[in-house]
């Protein structure tokens, strides 16, 4: 007699593991099914070259939100945070730099080297943004209402917003509503004069989206990133030991310690639907596992178009899942280095190569026309400076997030463009650390196509759908299934394609588990 489960979770990404933990904690029998030989999904540390371990897709900027991290007690499951000094260093031409620290005054002093006026405004900016981010952070923890016809429970859920919103005065509330649809460059122009400062911040408004900083809605992307702890200039002053994979390893231990079971190398072929309700899954091996509830950590398109028999899904709904914008537009490049590259500054912090708003905007032009940026903006991390466990002694790993590299190229294909993109990234980096090319022992470029093929991220979108205002909140992934539920009863979503989107916050998994338990009655 095969074992039966209360809940099956398709995919052991961080959100799948968070959902598994909460459900197991609530006493449900949970089985997590992962097709890869390791847990983590896109949040993995991989030995891409012998002895060199990389955070291959997701980076370690994000932390689970405090509330989830506290619930799951990850420090008890081996998660170690290494302190770092600077949070972010913007590399500027001619050896210049602009570093950001947790200490507002210290950052202001650094900004003062570029603009006294901006330095003076910095503390106010921090206070104002933290104030808005606090409301957005509460918004992220909500199960979005089903608009335009919210249920009574939706309205109760919205009441949770009242308290944080009341901490804002009318002007601040007005600012929040006004800011969301703005271009991030306009938002920053209202505060600062220094282009280098604005560029260093603006990157987080276009990170992972195919928009440029002068496009509408990027201020929302920025605020959401801020609330999720993903804007490096405002992030925690620590680095995950062992890369981002350490987070999902700890999550897996937390989940199993709470009683969830985990099966690796178990690819789910199809979600079984009986009379409109999810009843279990069929694995690629043909094995059938039944359960009362199935929760998909896969992205919405994969979930609805690949894991379900199309006969079971309403055609209008199925069509609407085809209109979700994924539009992956960034590449990853990983370098194994024989030594520390010589930057003109301390390289322990994340290094950002995006010296001006125009630089970012021009890089985005390429994506607009279906080509990749010859001069991309880069986010560079050298985690081995703080964490020697990732490379052989004396050697280093360096990872680059490069944008824009759109999944859909107009007249080329990624299999022929991969190498030339790698050269362009490397030569961009070499403008700030000229010895990098000589230090490279091994290198790997992950184009959006590679991210799709190797990590199951459609169109290379690490966030399971572009994080734009029209695909956020009660519209994520689409209005018809924005409450973690789907039109198939007992089938839920818990991945980054749901509210509040990408980033290793764990909120999606947390909220999905909350919804599942609420529906359980």
């Amino acid at each position: 007699m095969a074992e039966t489960f209360d809940a099956l979770i398709v995919g052991a990404g961080h959100n799948g593991l968070v959902a598994a933990s909460y459900l197991a904690r609530a006493g449900k029998r949970v089985l997590v099914l992962e097709q890869q030989p390791q847990v983590g999904g896109a949040a993995v540390t991989e030995e891409l070259f012998p002895g060199f371990r990389f955070s291959s897709v997701a980076e370690g900027t994000g932390r689970l939100v405090a509330h989830v991290a506290a619930d799951l007690q990850l420090h008890k499951h081996g998660l170690k945070l290494l302190p770092i000094d600077a949070l972010l260093t913007a590399a500027l031409p001619a050896g210049g730099r602009l570093s950001f620290y947790s200490d507002t005054a210290r950052t202001a002093a650094e900004i003062a080297r570029h603009s006294k006026a901006d330095a003076a405004r910095w503390p106010d900016f921090c206070a104002a943004m933290q104030c808005l981010a606090a409301v957005v952070a509460r918004l992220m923890m909500l199960i979005p209402p089903a608009l335009p016809a919210p249920s009574g429970r939706d309205l109760l859920e919205l009441l949770k917003l009242v308290a944080p919103a009341r901490r804002l005065n009318r002007k601040q509330l007005g600012d929040l509503v006004r800011t969301l649809p703005m271009p991030v460059s306009d938002m920053l122009d209202e505060w600062f004069e220094c282009d280098a400062l604005k560029a260093a911040l603006a990157v987080d408004g276009v990170h992972g989206v195919s928009l440029g900083p002068r496009q509408a809605g990027t201020a929302f992307v920025w605020l959401l990133a801020l609330a999720a702890g993903q804007v490096p200039a405002f992030a925690a002053a620590s680095q995950l030991q062992g890369g981002v994979g350490a987070l999902t390893q700890a999550l897996a231990k937390a989940a199993t310690s709470m009683g969830a079971q985990l099966r690796l190398n178990a690819a789910v072929q199809q979600v079984v639907v009986k009379a409109g309700r999810a009843a279990g899954v069929v694995l690629a091996s043909g094995e059938e596992i039944s359960a009362q509830v199935v929760i998909s950590n896969a992205d919405p398109r994969t979930t609805f178009q690949r894991l379900l028999d199309p006969l079971e899904v309403d055609p209008v709904f199925l069509r609407s899942t085809g209109t979700i914008k994924y539009r992956g537009c960034s590449a990853r490049m990983h370098l194994a280095l024989s030594g520390v590259p010589r930057f003109a500054f301390d390289a322990t912090a994340r290094i950002r190569i995006a010296p001006s708003i125009n630089y970012i905007e021009q890089a985005s032009d390429a994506a607009k026309y279906g080509t990749w940026s010859q001069q991309p903006w880069l986010d560079v991390t050298l985690p081995t400076l703080a964490d020697a466990t990732l490379a052989p002694p004396g050697q280093h790993v360096l990872s680059i997030h490069a944008q824009y590299a759109p999944y859909h190229l107009r007249s080329q294909d990624w299999d022929t463009q991969r190498a030339t993109l790698g050269s362009a990234i490397l030569s961009t980096l070499a403008q700030f650390a000229p010895d990098v090319p000589q230090l490279v022992l091994h290198s790997q470029v992950l184009t959006p196509l590679d991210l799709e093929r190797n990590y199951g991220l459609p169109e290379g979108s690490a966030t399971h759908g572009e994080m734009t205002l029209d695909q956020a909140l009660h519209m994520r992934p689409i209005p018809d299934c924005a409450q973690y539920r789907t039109p198939i009863k007992q089938l839920y979503l818990c991945g980054a394609g749901t509210h509040p989107g990408g980033g290793c916050t764990g909120i999606n998994g947390h909220n999905a588990a909350r919804q599942v338990l609420r529906d359980w009655g």
Partner: protein, 395 residues
């Protein structure tokens, strides 16, 4: 501007009335002579040739062709053998009719679908995740309907005696004057009849060959006005007149389900999941809100009304399709959606959608009738459909 159909050179030459209408972007003759009555009688007593090229036609093929069709259509297409034709409606996810048409399995796994409205997008939406190819062949097939009690003899004359074996709702390939023609024994007249599909390049020669073969049996071209009368006699509904496609209105009240339109027999709830199944299963459970019936308007009652004006009965010469209220004891119970004087049956026949408790044949009801711009109620009796169902239709 409407475009000419592949038969235009022939239909235009015959169209003395110069009365045309637009049908799916094509010019379509209303009537060829100054009155349509001879065309009506041709359909009912001899044979008529009707240009139906404006129909939308699709070829569905590939591994999952059957799966797609069974997902979209309410009938069980698995029961459509090679060489067979099925009439079927298709519904949206709420079980409301989008359109109806025929499905013909031309060869194993190759299906031709006819539709009144463009349907490619709906079929393709439903094909997500399936391995199936849907070709819009509307413009690459000219189509003619050969209808009437003598249609079989004319077709055998033109295409050979083997066509005598072609049964009702079956398909055959044949040659007419050396041209390949795909023939189904189907139609929109409720009479013996065939629909012929051919290469548009052959259209004019095909028309000529049929006209020549039909000449001794008084074959004539018929237009839309005659067709509209016979389809009401046959109890066949017309989209946008008797019901509205659920894709053409945003108001639920204007949409209809197969059960409401008397097409419950086409809904195969047992065949597995299909679009609208859940809603239709629920509707069958609770019963449909409407029933589609025939009304036989009582001549005496109508005569009484006209008498008050000192007039004899004056009926519209063509079929009408603007809805009027239907009453029982002065309470409205539904609507009449189209009607016509039937010269053959000598009856005023009407299609109506009424509350199901009044649907029993023989139930007396009233229909609004306007005489000299004044409203009246004329008596009518509920009748089962069709009004006219000759044995030679299926024989």
């Amino acid at each position: 501007m409407p475009r000419p159909s592949p038969f235009y050179s022939r239909t235009a030459a015959l169209c003395e009335s110069h009365s045309w209408q637009e049908w799916s972007g094509f010019l379509s003759a209303n009537m060829y002579e100054l009155h349509h009555l001879r065309e009506y009688y041709a359909i009912r007593t001899a044979a008529a040739l009707i240009d139906i090229s404006p129909l939308y036609k699709y070829l569905v093929h590939g591994r999952d062709a059957l799966k797609l069709l069974n997902r979209v259509m309410t009938r069980d297409i698995a029961r459509c053998a090679v060489g067979q034709v099925l009439y079927t409606p298709w519904c949206d996810e709420h079980g409301r009719i989008i359109d109806d048409g025929t499905v013909t399995q031309l060869a194993p796994g190759r299906y031709r679908v006819t539709a009144a409205d463009p349907s490619l997008r709906w079929f393709e939406d439903n094909a997500t995740g399936l391995q199936v190819q849907i070709d819009d062949i509307s413009d690459s097939l000219a189509a003619l309907a050969l209808q009437g009690p003598l249609a079989g003899e004319i077709l055998q004359q033109a295409a050979g005696p083997a066509l005598a074996q072609l049964k009702y709702f079956r398909h055959a390939s044949a040659a007419i004057a050396g041209m390949d023609v795909s023939i189904t024994r189907t139609g929109y007249t409720g009479d013996l009849g065939y629909e012929l599909f051919a290469d548009p390049a052959d259209a004019e020669r095909l028309w000529d060959a049929l006209m020549e073969a039909g000449q001794p049996r008084l074959l004539r071209a018929a237009g839309q006005l005659a067709l509209d009368m016979v389809r009401i006699e046959a109890g066949l509904l017309l989209v946008a007149v008797d019901f509205i496609s659920s894709k053409k209105t945003v108001f639920d009240v204007q949409k209809s389900t197969p059960y409401e339109l008397g097409l419950g027999w086409t809904v195969m709830l047992e065949k597995g999941n299909f679009v609208g199944r859940a809603a239709l299963a629920a509707e069958r459970e609770r019963g449909a809100a409407w029933a589609t019936v025939g009304l036989d308007v009582q001549w005496d009652s109508l005569e009484q009304i006209y008498k008050r004006y000192g007039m004899p009965i004056h009926l519209p010469e063509t079929a009408w399709g603007n809805a009027v209220p239907v009453y029982s004891d002065e309470v409205q119970i539904g609507r009449a959606t189209s009607g016509t004087w039937s010269p053959l049956l000598k009856k005023y026949v009407v299609l109506a959608r009424i509350q199901p408790q009044y649907a029993k044949p023989g139930t007396p009801v009233c229909m609004e009738a306007t005489v000299e711009a004044q409203r009246h109620m004329t008596a009518a009796r509920v009748t089962a459909l069709p009004f006219y169902n000759p044995p030679h239709k299926r024989a």
